[in-house]
Every structure is written in C-alpha cells, then in structure tokens.
C-alpha cells in the first residue's frame, strides 16, 4: 500500500516536471547559418532537373512508362505474320548479302532456293 502510494507520487512528479519550464533558444548567429543554408539550397536549373528526375516516384514512373510502351509495341504486332515476313526477308537478305547463289561462269545450273 505504501509502495503504491510512493509510485503514484513519483509518477505525478514526473508528469508535472515540465511545469514552469523556460523556452530553449537556438545557438547565437542562427540567421547567419540559415542564410548560408539558403544560398546553398538555391540550385541551378540542371541540378533541379537532376533532383526531379532522381526522385524515386519520377524514376519508377518513367521506367513503368517505358515498359508499358514496349509492351504496347510488342502486342500490336501480329506474331505469326511478323515471323513469316521476318524469316522470309532474313533469308532473302542473307542470300543476297553472302551471294550464296552459285553464279560462277562455269556453273551451268543456277540453283536458287
């Protein structure tokens, strides 16, 4: 019982310990330090752009946009036609580029694929 009373008194004392407190003051020359910080925070246009782009929200949004554009481009193309055209074209271009055709003057039969 006595202990309980002692604890309650101590708690009351702790809770009232801020009564009559004075306000804390910043260290002298606060304005001078503030001015230095303010002039340091004035960034040029490129710093501002870099700061804006490097913000996580902006960076991730841009990444998501690029991925979305990629997906849209990929999905818009019909996969079957594309493959056929590409393979035909590839074959043709390789054929022409590397002169696979045997067109030597001594070749009687020109075999084209």
């Amino acid at each position: 019982m006595f202990n309980e009373h002692k604890i309650n008194n101590r708690i009351e004392k702790i809770l009232n310990s801020l009564d009559g407190m004075q306000k804390a003051q910043p260290a002298p020359f606060f304005y001078t330090r503030l001015q230095a910080r303010l002039s340091g925070s004035r960034k040029n246009i490129w710093e501002q752009i870099t700061y804006f782009v490097s913000r996580p929200v902006v960076a991730f949004s841009m990444l998501a946009l690029v991925m979305l554009l990629n997906m849209t481009v990929l999905l818009r193309k019909s996969p079957t036609t594309t493959t056929a055209v590409v393979s035909d074209q590839t074959y043709q271009s390789v054929y022409e580029d590397f002169s696979i055709a045997s067109n030597a003057f001594y070749d009687y039969e020109i075999k084209e694929p």
Binding site: N3, S17, A24, Q25, P26, Y31
Partner: protein, 190 residues
C-alpha cells in the same frame, strides 16, 4: 512592423522582412522542434529547414489561418519527417550490420535534457521526455504543444486541424498512456 506587411514583403523576397520573421519566430520554432526531435543539433537542422520552407513557399500562404498556425504545421511536419528519416537510417544500419556490411557501432543517444527545465526537475523531465517518445504521433504532438509550448486547446485544434473535443481526447489518452508506461517502469525498478 505589422505581421501582414511583413508577409507581403516576404512574398516579394525582401531580406529585411525575412530576417525580422526569423528573429521573431526562431525561439518558438527551435523550442517545438527540440521537444519533438530531442537533440539540439537535430533541432537546429529542422529549424533551418523550416525557415527555408517558409522562404520558398510563402506564396502558398493565403492568410486563411494565422501565420503562427501555418508555421507550427511546418515545424511539426518537418520534425516528424526528421524522426522517420532517422528511424529508417537506424533500421538500415542495423540490417547492414547483420550482413557485416557496416561495422559502425549502433548506440542509443543518452537521455535528452531540455535546457529550459528547472534544475531540480532535470532528472524527472528526462524520464518524461523518454516516455513521450513511446506515445503515438498525434498524442505526442498534442501533449508537447500543450505542455511545452503552452498552447490552449483551441490553438492546438487549429494547428492539428481537428476539433476541441478530439484534442481533449488526445490529451486524455496521452496522459493515461504516459501513466501506464511510467507505472510499468517504476514497478520494474522497485
């Protein structure tokens, strides 16, 4: 000089007006930040951030509330952001230390001593400030504004953008929670 004239001049980026505003409000800004972040260096840092914000966003101050209310809101936001950033850094350093990437010793700062507290209350005030940190954000802010800054319920409700009855309830819950924590600690120390 009238507050509104000063604000108008600050909107035109007048250096003298800015200096007058800083000198008028620096004590209030520093004192509030100090009670929340509980470190002199951090409070100085937050106070500077607050005035930089004031200088840069004074155009957005339309005068719908008092200048002091607007300023208190900036101080509270910056202080809470500072605490969150610090906690995040501490957590990150702890994770790094688990993987052996950071060998710096993580230590808890010593108990905070507010320079404005009376000498014979220093010990108990340090315990109170430590316990205040265990309160939820809103209760902590309401308690500090009332006990440290001496704001009335009406002023607190303007700053916190709420009603007088919610401020009363916040303060009531804050006191109860503080009592619970203190009781728990005192029983353990007995």
């Amino acid at each position: 000089m009238n507050e509104w004239i000063l604000i108008d001049k600050l909107k035109q980026k007048d250096e003298v007006a800015f200096r007058t505003i800083v000198e008028t409000w620096q004590e209030m800004v520093f004192n509030t930040a100090l009670s929340i972040v509980q470190s002199t260096e951090d409070a100085e840092d937050v106070s500077q951030e607050v005035f930089v914000q004031v200088y840069e966003s004074i155009q957005s101050f339309k005068g719908e509330s008092k200048f002091s209310t607007w300023l208190y809101r900036i101080v509270l936001t910056k202080s809470m952001d500072h605490i969150r950033k610090k906690k995040r850094k501490k957590r990150f350093a702890f994770i790094q230390s688990l993987f052996g990437l950071n060998n710096e010793i993580i230590y808890d700062p010593p108990d905070f001593q507010h320079p404005g507290v009376k000498l014979d209350n220093k010990e108990t005030a340090a315990i109170l400030f430590k316990t205040i940190n265990k309160l939820p954000e809103n209760q902590k802010i309401a308690f500090i504004l009332h006990k440290v800054e001496g704001l009335s319920y009406q002023q607190i409700c303007e700053v916190m953008n709420t009603t007088v009855s919610s401020v009363e309830s916040l303060l009531h819950r804050a006191k109860n929670n503080l009592k619970k924590h203190l009781e728990h600690e005192n029983r353990f120390s007995e």
